[in-house]
Amino acid sequence: MDHSSTFEKALRSALITLVLIFFLFPILWIFLMSLQTNETILRIPPSILFEPNLDNYRALITGKLQTTAGNLDIAFMRNLWNSVLLSTFSVALSLLLGVPAAYAFARFKFRLGEDIAFTLLSFRFAPPLLVLLPLSLYFKTLGLTNTYIGLIWVYQLICLPLILWIVRGYFEDISPDIEHAYRIAGNSWWKTFTRVAIPLARPGIAAAGLLAFIFAWNNFVFALILASADKQPVTVGALAFVTASGIQYGQIAAAIVLSVTPTLALALYAQRYLVEGLSMGAVKG
C-alpha cells in the first residue's frame, strides 16, 4: 500500500528528474559536441541547433587529425585497443589470483593472514605517485618499461585489492555448512570450491570484476609514466588532442564517447549483478 500523497509523489519525481539531469546532461552534452565542428561548439551564443556530422569520428578512426595548422597523425584507435587489452588482461589476472586468495582469507585462519590482507588493501590508498619513481627505475632495470606485461603487472595494484576485498566479503557470507555438506556428499575440496563457492559468490565476483575493469580503464598516471605512445591507453592518448593550434573539442568529445562505450556496455550488461553485488555482502557493516 502506498500512503504517500500526490504532493509527495510530484516532489519525488521532480527531485529524481533533477538528479538525472545533473548526472546525464554532461553525457548528452558530450555526445552532442562529438557531432559538431570546433566552430559550432565555440560559437557565441551557443545553440543546440546544428547540422550533425561524423567528421570527428572519421578523423579518430582513420587517425588523421585535421587542424588549422595542418594534418596530424594520432593513434586513437591504437590507444583504445590498448585500453581494452590492458584492462581485460589486468582484470583476468586479478580474478585468477584474487578469487582464490579471497577464499583463503575468508575461510582459513593463518598466521599474518589479516596483515597480508590489509597490506594488499593498503595498495589502494597509497598515492600512485609515491610508488611511481621507484617503479620506473625498477622497470628500466627489469626491461619492463613500455611493455604490456609491465603495465598489466602494475595494474594489479588497482585491481587485485578491489577484487580481493569485495569477493572475500561474499565468501564470508556463504555458510561454511553448505560447503561442508558438499564435501561430505563425496566431493573433493577443489570441486567444492569450483562448484559451490564460486557459483554462490558469482554476483560478487561479477561486481568486483566490473569495478576493477572501470578503475583500470580510467587509470592515467601509471601508463603516462611507464609506457610510451604505442602502449598507452585512451586516457593518456586523449592528451594528443591538445595541439599546438588549440584544443580539438569536437574530437575530444568523440574520443570520450568512443572510450566510454565499452565500459558503459559492460556496465549495462552487468548492471543486475552490480547493484545486487554492491548492496549485499560487499558493503556489509
Binding site: I178, R183, I184, W189
Partner: protein
Amino acid sequence: MTQLELKSLTKSYGAYKVFDGLNLAAEPGEIVVIFGGSGTGKTILLRLIAGVEEPTSGLIEIEGNDVADIAPEHRNIGMAFQNFALFPHLSAFENIATPLRAQNASAELVRSGVDKVAKLLKIDHVLGHAPRELSNGQKQRTALARALAAGPRILLLDDPLRNVDAKLRFEMRLELPRLLRQTGAAVLYVTQDYKEAMALADRIAVIANGKFIQTAAPEDIYLKPATLGVAQLFGDPSINTADTKVELAGKTVNVTLGGAKVPIVSSYSSYAGRLVTFGVRPEAVEINASKGAGLAANVMAVTPLNERTVLLLHSEGGWEFLASLPSSATNIPEPGAKVKASFAASGTHLFDKTTAERLHG
C-alpha cells in the same frame, strides 16, 4: 560389527575444552540420540565425525578403521544440518542427487535413487523447485533426503526438526525411526528436545560438561537417571527436588521436606546420615484426601495441560512442589484444598549432595 566408535575423543579450542574423553559405540541400524543443552558441543561432535574438523586427541573408528587421515568425502557419511545447508543454486533434485553424482552414478541410477528417497520423504512433487521456493518442512526433508540418498554407513542428523513447525515435527517423530532403521546405517541424532530423544532413540547419550554422563535406553534414562542433572533434563514438568539428610528412626528411613519427616523405602537405610538431594517426579506424586497419610500440603494452583493436570503444592513446612495427574483422574482437588501427598517409589530418587550421582536404593 561396530559401525562407529569414539575412543576417548577430546576437542579443545585453545584452553577451552569442549569435551574430554568421549566414548561411544553405535551398531548398524541403531539410533543413538546425542542429547544435551545448547553449547554442549553436540554439533562439534558431529563435525568431528564427519571430518570437517579435527579432534584434539582420541580416535574415531568407522567399521574398525581409524579415520583420522580420511577426508570427509571418503568417509561414506550422510549428514543433515540444523540450518539445512541446501545448495541454493541447485534444484531440490540436484541437491538430493549430489552424493550420487559424486560417485559418478549413471543418469538412470541418479534418477531412480533420487526418486526413491524423495517418495519415501514425500517430496517427489517439489523436486524441480529451487531451495528458496520450498517450505521449511520441504527444505528439511530435502536435506534429509540428500543425507540418505547414497545409502551412507553413518548418518549424522543435527537437530533436523529444530526449524520445522510443530505439526510436522510430530509427524516426523513418528516416521523417522522406521525410515532411519530401513537405511541400516548407524544413526547419531542430535537434539535438545527430550521428547524427541525419547521417541526416536534406541539409546540416548546425555552430554554435559564435556562428557557423556549417561548412555542408556530411553526408559533407563527416565527411570534410573545417573545424576540429578539427567533427571532434571528429562521430564516435563521437571523433577521436584529438596536438599535434605537421610535419617533412620527405628526401622523407618526418613527425609525432611520443608520441616516435615517423610518416610521413604527402607532400602536406603545404608545412607543414613548422608546429605542428599531428594527428587520426586511430578507423575509419582500421589494426592490423597486430607485425612489420609502423607505430607500435608495446600493446593496453590491447578493447571490443566490436555491429558495431564499439573498441581502446584505448598507443604506446610514451605516446600513447593509439583504434581502431575492424569486429567481423567477423579480426585483432582480444587485450588486452596488441603491434601496429603505421598510419593511412589518408582519415581523417587536420592542423589548425593556433592557428586549429584543417584544413590541406589
